[in-house]
Symmetry: C2
């Protein structure tokens, strides 16, 4: 296991930050940003590295700058359910609570923009632009969690896999709507096992269903992780959602 991810970074400015306009800081203006920059620092993590164990104290909150991290819960006997998938611009941690409730793990190389907890909590209180953006993002996460609950509770294994691929495609398109015609290329950011933990399945079932979709031409695989989608509408149909993907405006 690699050591702690304290990054030996030089100075990095918010001006050139890739998530400047989507992260928790996106509504902030000049002096607010300067105040944030004073309490921020970067940390990097390697794939598989644990960012925080459930139950640990965590003395910072953070935005994901690049890479993918997951939040997981675990039952005593080891059964694991992923409950959050953090992509660039997503926020990690909860102001007002210093103990992490879930295991946070880097699933790819991850770079975090971290804010020390105490000053960040003060700023949440004092800077409406910050707390309002955090409220928006938390509500978006709640919507996503509820979509996810529908998947976990009611979809078949095949639908779960198709839904997952659709979710990744949409999030990698990042903002702009996914074109319904034309090829779409995506990179799965999770292992089969992590996908199983995301979807409430076993890794064997994940493998079987992915290969079933491949055999039927719904997806094409190059290597284990790279996926080509020849017909996104077909994928959505397999996912069991509405034609438009069931996304909530």
């Amino acid at each position: 296991m690699p050591g702690p991810g304290r990054a030996p970074t030089g100075v990095e400015s918010c001006d050139t930050c890739p998530i400047r306009h989507r992260a928790v800081c996106s509504h902030c203006v000049d002096d607010e940003l300067i105040a944030l920059e004073k309490i921020k620092f970067y940390r990097s993590f390697e794939p598989g590295q644990v960012i925080a164990w459930g139950g640990d104290r965590m003395d910072f909150v953070a935005s994901v700058v690049s890479g993918v991290a997951s939040l997981s819960q675990r039952l005593e006997d080891g059964r694991t359910q992923m409950v959050g998938l953090l992509l660039p611009s997503d926020f990690m941690g909860r102001p007002g609570r210093d103990v992490v409730p879930y295991d946070a793990v880097a699933t790819t190389k991850v770079k975090l923009c971290c804010f020390r907890r105490a000053p960040f909590e003060d700023m949440i209180r004092d800077i409406p632009h910050l707390s309002q953006r955090l409220l928006e993002m938390t509500m978006d996460e709640l919507d996503a969690a509820r979509e996810w609950m529908l998947l976990l509770g009611r979809k078949t294994a095949r639908e779960k896999i198709a839904s997952f691929i659709a979710i990744i495609a949409r999030r990698q398109a990042s903002g702009s709507p996914v074109p319904m015609n034309g090829q779409i290329e995506i990179e799965l950011p999770l292992t089969r096992e992590a996908m199983a933990d995301y979807l409430g399945l076993t890794l064997e079932t994940v493998s079987r269903q992915i290969n079933a979709l491949k055999r039927e031409g719904v997806v094409e695989l190059s290597g284990k992780r790279h996926v080509t989608l020849p017909d996104f509408a077909r994928l959505l149909q397999e996912a069991g959602d509405d034609a438009d993907g069931g996304w909530i405006g």
Copy 2:
């Protein structure tokens, strides 16, 4: 189906409101409360009555004053998953969005304290006490949703039922921790079918598992809805959670 639930209420004051200290308004002080009172009105709904259909415009947000309401998502073929269970003091609706993404249904007699959308959104912007409380509540809901995801994705039918009963017991204890010794009496606020929609099961499985727990003395039933818990620790054990119930500080 009964008509719309516009309540012919007389004046009702926040001073005597049962959810005054837990709802979205709980941090508000004198003049803030007066401003809220100007835009509030009450509506009541009968069991089974639809509060809002998914896709509808909703021109208010609301706090649940009494009773229980549910939020549900539905796939095209009719499969239904409950994604929210709203008990007294819970908040309904999302500032900044006027279309409801889920079906909202009263599962018991429900009384809502409603705020007209537009002025409420202005107040969210202008009154930090309001937006900060809403942020807290939204984060609590997100935590609950994630606990729920673990249940949906990884627990057995038996564990789901035990977990559900434990959740209801805790929420009816409302704040104060559930005593681990002594009898606990609860009232199930849902039909078997609604429980099935909550838990990602069929109503037959719900019925079978409840009666299995009864046969084994984990719960006692009087009528269909009233439950006595002779040993709460035993119930938690059946739920598969940690000894303390897996609640996140």
